[in-house]
Symmetry: C2
Amino acid sequence: MAYHFSNILGHFIIDNSFKEIRKAQKESKDVKIEEVPQQKLSIVLELFKDKKYFTEFYEKNIDISKQALKKSVTEDQLIIQAISNVQELDKICNILTKRLREWYSWYNPELCEEVKDNEKFAELVLTEKRGKESMGADLDKPHLDEMNLLAKEIGEMFQLRKTHEAYLQKVLLDYCPNLVELAGVTISAKLIELGKSLKHLALLPASTIQLLGAEKALFRHIKTGARSPKYGVIFAHPLIQNSKRSDRGKASRMLADKLSLCARLDFFKGEFKAKEFRKELEEKLR
Amino acid sequence: MAYHFSNILGHFIIDNSFKEIRKAQKESKDVKIEEVPQQKLSIVLELFKDKKYFTEFYEKNIDISKQALKKSVTEDQLIIQAISNVQELDKICNILTKRLREWYSWYNPELCEEVKDNEKFAELVLTEKRGKESMGADLDKPHLDEMNLLAKEIGEMFQLRKTHEAYLQKVLLDYCPNLVELAGVTISAKLIELGKSLKHLALLPASTIQLLGAEKALFRHIKTGARSPKYGVIFAHPLIQNSKRSDRGKASRMLADKLSLCARLDFFKGEFKAKEFRKELEEKLR
């Protein structure tokens, strides 16, 4: 943010200075503006000898920069934050459930073995009573309370993750309907995160979109000559998951192609064509 | 758990077999038990020729092992789980607050700069309204809702951490009053975690207790001849924190000495002497 700020500030100081110069020019007619930037700058600096311009310049610039900063926040940034948080919540849910499994196994090891799904496990810790034949220790209530609190917290984390996803879906459907229709919520959000913004994503070639998220493998390929990656985050897409292993590279290339078109349609506010694209891909990949 | 189980199971199979042999001995008087273990085992194996013993052995052993396992859970394990979870929660709170700061700074960058304390920040996100002159973007309610949910979750994490600490204090005051009195809740729990159990901690020499938690530095010292570490987790103790830098090594040695005594007093259910120890240390280190 700070970097962003100073950047825009610098830009506006130069920009505003010219406005001031033009104003001064109109008034006094004795300040000449040459087309050479070096000279322009020296004229501006000349004006700063007079202190009366300086404070005004400074305050106005700060104001205008603040306004510009206000307007510079787009949905891209919010989408990026939300999808990053979803990814972090995934990690955190895993860490905490692992701890709960270890902790709870002193009381009811059978449940920990039985239930493999993390979300369900946290729920069952709260609701289910253990069998009488359990080989876990008979712990007192204070000990169990701590585990239950942790289980409850894990449940809420999973809930938060779902809320974030619903929010993302809502925002993305507005922002890039084509991309979401073809790629789904998670993949579209990840693509925007990796492409930094929808604008930048729309400007990327399809082959880059195909490999977004596979940077590590790509650089290993360039550096050591290992096999080149075939897909990045789009690997999770059902069209690729459902094709044969030998067809996946092809499927990924075709999908990236259409995704790139979708990103462009969305950024330049084009028509809604994703459904046709999807049908086309499905027919070709059958 | 599984390893623990098979360990105890093996132990009890041997143990029970001897009981069976003795029973058989009493009944038939023709099985002799020599004092050589090798022979003992062969006698046991002899009995397994008869299938009737086998199923009974097996079932009884499973039963007895389950019982033993039930009893084998001590407070040590629960303390270790709780303090590990506290440490994980610390990390998680940091990760999530970092994310919230980045996310919220699009709306209210001033608050993110102002409030350095993580817990307070999460609270203020929920309660405080931003100033009119903020240079953050004017976001709609749906966007802000997600941030608020995250802030709420962070607040609950901090709360859970506090509950865990209160629980630890209660358990530790019962389990090792001397250690807690001298070292405080967090350090005692960490010492038990690093020593694996209070029993093992009581058996460790004071010099090892002094360096628990500084294993990395210790092995670097042994391997490369770098300077040896002076303290492990006990570094956070106020007696060490408050001494001069040059006295810290000495303070740490004296403190570890007393902590080792405390662990022994606690494990062997001795008197409560920690207050005297504390006074003694404070006088010496003044």
